[in-house]
Amino acid sequence: MTQQTATKQRIKRIRLEDALNANVWDVDAKPHIIVDSEKCVGCTNSACTYLCPGGCFTLLAGKLLYSYEGCLECGTCRVVCPKDAVTWNYPLSGRGVQYRFG
């Protein structure tokens, strides 16, 4: 076995969904992220799709889809959006991600 395959087998990549599942969550029924997708039309940057660490933003056939369930509450989407399309607030009543280590 080559060195490379040996190290490859030592550590498996973890999918983002599984990494998010390592956390404790109390997801709100009401979204705390609202995106005005019409403003996204013509956005060439799409920074939210690769910089949101929770993977909450995806492009599907050129249209922006978003979710709030895996939001890690960092606020990156709000800061990087060049179109000011993201209305972002913290979840109410302590809901959302529950950091045990932080």
């Binding site: 190290t7 550590i11 990156t76 950091y99």
Partner: protein, 429 residues
């Protein structure tokens, strides 16, 4: 909201992180009637950081800090690594003494808030503050949903996302140039494996910084901190650069790091127990609000932009906590003057300026500016690794140091520029 709206407090503090909890603890001990409003279910449940805290300022604020606080390990090994596709060059410092420790911020914040509660502060959790209550241009309390809570003075410790300050036009909207994004894994390995693999005793901690390929050569870096039974492994990228240059999901950058040498070997058999992210202030003095005080309010911690990133180490918690402590002193002084006017609260800025907080912020401002320049993070690792590779990996003719350095510098830019950067790093402009 739990405490009846009719109750009026001396001080309302927004946020029970290190800054808010330190202010609450100090004020409660001075006899002020304090309420802390925390949006999380428990204090700390919305806090996240890299993993290291400088201890001294916290020892000044909290009685019994060293014995009671949830300290994981005292940092006794420091490693700074430059990483490229070709290899790694590291500088290591080991010492018997230590001024910083590794910790979990959720636990540290919870501990600080419990100290504030023991001192008499009232902590209300699960409450998101939506606005600062203003009357005639003066802060007189806070608004949460339909509830109002009145206080003589408000301490804004809302963190890096300054939603309240922005709403009240105290600060402009946060821009990508002002912040960096940190993403972090907490990986459980167990005490024995950590001690064996990182060469540590049970109470000894390692703080490891890496720059170069670890962030796809973007300004920022990677870090690893050892806790008692886990390690914190993460990356930090300056958002303005990441927006222009990162072409894949930021999580993949972190996963590439975790699954590449030397981490494959060091973290083998570990299990992921938490994945989180947070923004950090990175613009030095530029991100600070023009005034950290106004009629009836003070701004502390991350909201005040208090964080120093020197490339080889980052400090934020101690600055945040100490700003909270100084805000408490300022409130006491303003109280003795009879009112919480902007004028009376301005002593907060003077106290900050006289303390290590602003002295350090100012002293390191030029280095912080340098940290946001992209060439540092590519050129330095390339030259260092390139030179070292030439020095050690030869077949017949072994090069002299200068020859190896010259060879690795070829086509990589101006030597003069590198020299200037090195001087800035060492002594400021």
């Amino acid at each position: 909201m739990d405490p009846p709206s009719a109750t009026k407090f001396d001080v309302a503090i927004v946020g029970a992180g290190p800054a808010g909890a330190s202010a609450a603890y100090t004020l409660a001990r001075k006899g002020f009637k304090v309420v802390v409003l925390e949006r999380g279910r428990t204090p700390g449940s919305k806090n996240l950081f890299g993993g290291r805290v400088y201890s001294h300022p916290l020892e000044l604020i909290f009685e019994g800090f060293k014995n009671e606080a949830p300290i994981e390990r005292w940092t006794k090994r420091e490693v700074l690594s430059f990483v490229t596709e070709e290899g790694i060059v590291s500088v290591e410092y080991a010492s018997g003494s230590s001024t910083s420790f590794t910790a979990y911020l959720s636990k540290l914040s919870a501990w600080m808030a419990s100290k504030a509660e023991s001192a008499g502060a009232i902590l209300v959790t699960d409450v998101r503050v939506d606005d600062i209550l203003m009357e005639n241009g003066k802060a007189v309390g806070i608004v949460s949903g339909g509830d109002r809570l009145y206080a003589d003075v408000v301490v804004i410790a809302e963190g890096v996302n300054r939603l309240l300050c922005e709403r009240r036009n105290i600060t402009p909207q946060l821009s990508p140039e002002e912040v960096a994004l940190g993403v972090k894994h907490v990986i459980r390995l167990g005490t024995d494996k950590i001690n064996d693999r990182f060469g540590l005793d049970s109470n000894e901690g390692l703080a490891w910084f890496l720059i170069g390929k670890v962030t796809d050569y973007l300004p920022g870096g990677a870090f690893l901190y050892t806790n008692s039974t886990t390690v914190s492994l993460g990356i930090v990228v300056f958002l303005s650069h990441a927006m222009k240059k990162v072409k894949r999901h930021i999580y993949e950058v972190l996963e590439d790091l975790r699954t590449s040498p030397p981490f494959t070997r060091l973290l083998e058999g570990g299990s992921l127990v938490e994945y989180g992210s947070h923004l950090t202030p990175e613009a030095g003095l530029k991100m600070m609000p023009k005034k950290l005080y106004g009629d009836g309010f003070l701004i502390v911690g991350d909201a005040a932009g208090l964080l120093i990133n020197l490339g080889y180490t980052v400090r934020g918690v101690d600055l945040a906590a100490f700003s909270g402590y100084l805000a408490a002193e300022a409130i006491e002084e303003a109280h003795s003057l009879g009112s919480y006017t902007s004028h009376n609260l301005s002593c907060y800025e003077r106290k900050l300026n006289d303390s290590f907080v602003m002295k350090e912020m100012k002293r390191h401002d030029s280095v912080q500016k340098l940290m946001s320049k992209s060439h540092i993070f590519e050129l330095y690792p390339q030259v260092l690794v390139g030179t070292t590779k030439r020095l050690f990996e030869f077949e017949e003719a072994s090069p002299k140091l200068l020859e190896a350095a010259k060879e690795s510098l070829k086509g990589k830019g101006s030597k003069f520029k590198m020299l200037l950067d090195a001087i800035t790093l060492m002594r400021g402009p």
